[in-house]
Subunit: 444 residues, 2 copies
């Protein structure tokens, strides 16, 4: 494992070297290839909008996704298009940027090329911003039973599972099978797990409450399983307790200090020996970085994240940066930078500024994460917010969460439409997107 403290103390003039190479390429602008159109990659591209460079952004999907609200798609509160925008729409007016919807096959760091299915792109500077997928810690077979939540496809598939479970319970007979269909296990007590558990509880107890005739929606059981001794371990202990109390007020059963030992179609077995019969399981227990480290043969941590220097470049490759969930980053204080959207955005902008500074022969201090606060929502008027000295829970935290998420939703139009959807849901308890789509969506 690499030690980063030494790098942090004496930052390598990474970009100066990269740009020196660039300057030799007389007669053309430096080519910046960014892989990944998430928060990190997209913000890097946008920050380069006035720079004298050519930007190529490669993503295998056509849309940027506002992942913090993905759980609302999975629980029928929002439609996919409300939190996803075509990357080329966002960069439409940025003349120095080209978007390629392509899957990266390989990277040759010596030739400085990225190869996709159809072409080889050469780069002067490469930005790896490929994000993370859920990890099952050696139990990959569990994915079929307990899908995770990272893409629009994940969310609509999970939405179909959750809604179909209630539909099957309605047509089935009273008894154990009905109870199994109406039991939901969420694995992992981090922000995604807490949000999913709260949102399923609200979906069942409010939006669906009066729509069924045979089942009693009050019999819905939602179990949140967390291996640690509290939910939201990245928050102060007091807010963890507040979050747990708010979950329990919604009827969520919280199992702490226990973990999944076995899983099958019928349910889960915990380490404590408890067996929970549950038709629907949701995985929110861990993520693994994309294989960016393998592509370039770089050192990675156990979660697959590329080890980077204090300037976010890869040791030995000052022209390659890794940002967001792809990178293992420590601040100047040695603390790890969390895998959250604001950190990815800040890294994207930081790398872009480094590239611009390098072109001008200037130095930039090491990357430092600015923590503007931590928010997690549980449900209607239920959330926790940690702004350092100011810690909120309940209605005020929920208002702060709502405004923050609306504000950062890309696209003015989406802000308005999501606001109206939330206002409607708040006034009526209704959910706008309760669709079970039956036919596979086939990419061509």
């Amino acid at each position: 494992m690499l030690r980063l403290d030494a790098d942090a103390a004496a930052p390598v003039p990474a970009i100066e070297r990269a740009s020196a190479r660039v300057d030799r390429a007389i007669g053309r602008k430096p080519r910046i290839v960014i892989i990944g159109g998430g928060f990190g990659g997209l913000n890097a591209a946008i920050e380069l909008r006035k720079a004298p460079v050519e930007v190529a952004l490669v993503d295998r999907r056509n849309h940027h996704l506002f992942q913090p609200l993905l759980y609302q798609v999975a629980t029928a509160g929002l439609s996919p298009a409300q939190i996803a925008t075509p990357i080329r729409r966002i960069l439409s007016g940025q003349k120095n940027a080209t978007v390629y919807m392509e899957t990266v096959q390989s990277i040759d760091p010596r030739a400085r090329t990225v190869t996709t299915c159809t072409r080889t792109l050469s780069y002067d500077v490469l930005v790896l911003a490929t994000g993370a997928r859920h990890a099952y810690f050696g139990h990959d077979g569990w994915e079929a039973f307990a899908p995770g939540l990272k893409t629009i496809g994940d969310a609509t598939a999970l939405r179909a599972r959750i809604l179909t479970a209630f539909e099957k319970a309605e047509v089935g007979d009273r008894g154990a099978e009905r109870q199994r269909l109406m039991t939901f296990v969420v694995v992992g007590g981090g922000p995604t797990g807490v949000e999913m558990a709260g949102a399923i509880a609200e979906l069942a107890r409010k939006a669906l409450a009066s729509d069924f005739r045979n089942i009693d929606i009050a019999e819905t059981r939602i179990v949140l399983v967390e291996a640690g001794d509290r939910v939201l371990p990245s928050f102060p202990a007091g807010l963890s307790q507040a979050a747990q109390a708010q979950l329990q007020a919604l009827g969520v059963i919280v199992r702490l200090g226990d973990a999944v030992a076995a899983m099958d179609e019928e349910g889960v077995t915990l380490h404590s020996g408890e067996r929970i019969q549950a038709a629907t399981k949701v995985w929110a227990a861990g993520v693994m970085a994309s294989p960016a480290a393998d592509w370039i043969g770089a050192a990675a941590d156990r979660a697959g994240r590329v080890m980077v220097s204090a300037d976010l470049s890869i040791p030995g490759h000052p022209e390659i940066f890794a940002i967001g969930d792809t990178a293992n980053v420590r601040g100047p204080d040695g603390r790890p930078v969390p895998g959250v959207a604001p950190a990815a955005k800040q890294m994207g902008r930081d790398v872009a500024r480094r590239i611009i500074a390098g072109l001008r022969g200037r130095r930039v201090p090491p990357f430092a994460y600015r923590d503007d606060g931590n928010l997690a929502t549980i449900g209607r008027k239920a959330a926790v917010a940690d702004f350092g000295r100011i810690r909120l829970s309940g209605t005020f935290a929920w208002l702060a969460w709502s405004f923050a998420h609306l504000w950062f939703l890309i696209g003015f139009r989406n802000r308005i439409v999501v606001f109206l959807d939330w206002a409607w849901a708040y006034a009526t308890f209704d959910r706008s997107a309760r669709l079970i789509v039956e036919r596979p969506e086939q990419p061509q």
Copy 2:
């Protein structure tokens, strides 16, 4: 083939008999089973809301779909949830109605039972409202190349195909393959075909115009193939010409008097011998009724529609009704009732009123279709409208179309959201739902 004129002259007192049987079932309310939650079935259920009956509505999907706007989902203008509402949400407050999301396996007209995967429902009155699917007239293999447009899944799959074609053209090289990727063939010049051709043209020339760097969107070719001698054959000839002129103004190439002779992954060959290389093909050339006639062993026409009497019941089975696209219906004037949403709605309400009248021992005159006008849209400020004496084309027809479709969209909330989306699209030429979803949506 049955002749219906005799029936029309002397309507059988169908419901009186059905209700007489019902009255003997002392101590319980008559059971009305409705199969299908489209315009016909749903309106039948709603019209029965105050009747002393038990309504069971069976549909294999969980949502009612506003099919007239489905082409806007396929062309990224609207999100699925904006035109689809859970059936149990719509019937939530109707205490005499139960919704079953189930697939019908068989019907036993003698035992008067409907069997699904999980249960057998007995009925006193059965309403078949199962709609239609696209038909390929003996060329079922063409479905893989040229999908039709009947469900949300159809629409999102088609949307992915259309958007992916442009993405592939952008990353590919100039030449024949790029032209093939940017060519779209719509088969069938009825309302759906005209709407699809116009909407693809607007999507390409307006919404996508400034988002690509390598391809020239103006090279997009959209070909509408119609076997007859004019588009919109169900409209007056003058409006067909107006529609064709509006299509051509949008750049759509209209091929009349020609039909598809062969089709493969690469393109289509017409009867005239013309070969069109086209990556994306859309089928809008014909529909086939669902197999409701087979279920009950009833006589059907060539399109699979059940032959019904003037009271919409099936000859020999006064307790079974068929409505909407499932039924071959002629009005008292002998003219066939068209397969459009208003006709299905009217039949649904008519059957419900017949059932109620039958319970009270009253007779009801034969079903008569009230034609409130015919509308088809081509694009922005481009449409045709036939209100009998008043015929419109262009901006006024488009306004009439917009108001009519908004008005009939089920759900006040959807009306507002769709209106805002249209207003946004009108002001900005943008499309809100340009998503390519990569992962199959798996029903559980």
